[in-house]
Amino acid sequence: MNRTDALRVVALAAQAEMALVRRDGVCGPLLAQAARAAAGTPAELVLAEASRLVRAAPEREAVRQAALSLTRMGLHEAEASVLESA
């Protein structure tokens, strides 16, 4: 992932993280966008799974928590790409 793409993923995943914390339905589109922006990287894998989770059962607390965990992993992967390219 180049630095520009990584920054894009960081921004989207960080917004998705807070949306999940706030139980805001905007987390779904944000995660889908983040997964597409992370295409071909480990971040894509976890963000795509988080996106599938919140689409499957957004009202379930366990699902929200698992999606939050995956979103944080995706965020950290993208942050690592930014830091490693600096």
Partner: protein, 281 residues
Amino acid sequence: MRLLGQDRDVLAATGVDADALDDIETWARRTVMVPEGAMVVDAHAHLGIDRDGRALAAADLVADLDANGITAAVAFAADEPGMDGDFREANQRVADAAEAHPGRIIPFCRLDPTRPIMAALAAADGAGARGLKLHPVAQRFRPEAPECVAAVREATDRGWPVLFHAGFGARPLGDAFAALLAQVPDARIILAHGGRGDHRALAAVAARYPNVLFDTSIAALPDLVTLPPERIIFGSDRPYGDHAQALHLVGTAARVAGWDAAALRGVLGETLLRWIGPVHV
């Protein structure tokens, strides 16, 4: 069975691909190359039922530790101060959990320093507490306030480290902790969540006080990689975080910052155990 800290059956019932989540969880754990013989100790877990509804039982915490190759966890009460507001009953439940799971759960005492603290402190001390947990946001006090300074002094006199919530919150924290440490300079302070609530200011304070550590629970990666690893200890924030994600964060930080095996050994457990003493499983 749990998956990413959640009940696997509940997740599977929603139609999600639990096997795919299993694979991700395994990948996340393996991000950390745990050095041979290293002891992994979680510095930050809540037990009980928080007023926000989040809950974790001792048996579930121990199952999580087993599933993730973690030896032990520091645990303290969730935000359940009880009728008297002094956390005495919740602290006793944590102590009971530690007794039921020897060497796996390391009990810390939680307090509200705006309330009378001496009876609760004495009870927790007598029940085996090995540290103090304070939450300035939940209990609505300032770290530099006289009542908090008094609580930190009491803990320090008992040889306990004090773990502070230092994550989500609006107040600046650098000057607050500088003022606290100026009054109790021998206090041993653990700033939770990598001090993400005001990381740059807190890192500047920590540079002047060697007895300040940062835990990794729900921390920000850029904060962790700019700290010396000897100031960092592994934490999960269970049940708000989960162990696979917490291990993934530490493994990623180790890779980005270039920690060697000795540094990683310290982050994963050795540094914390130097403060709280050994665990005997």
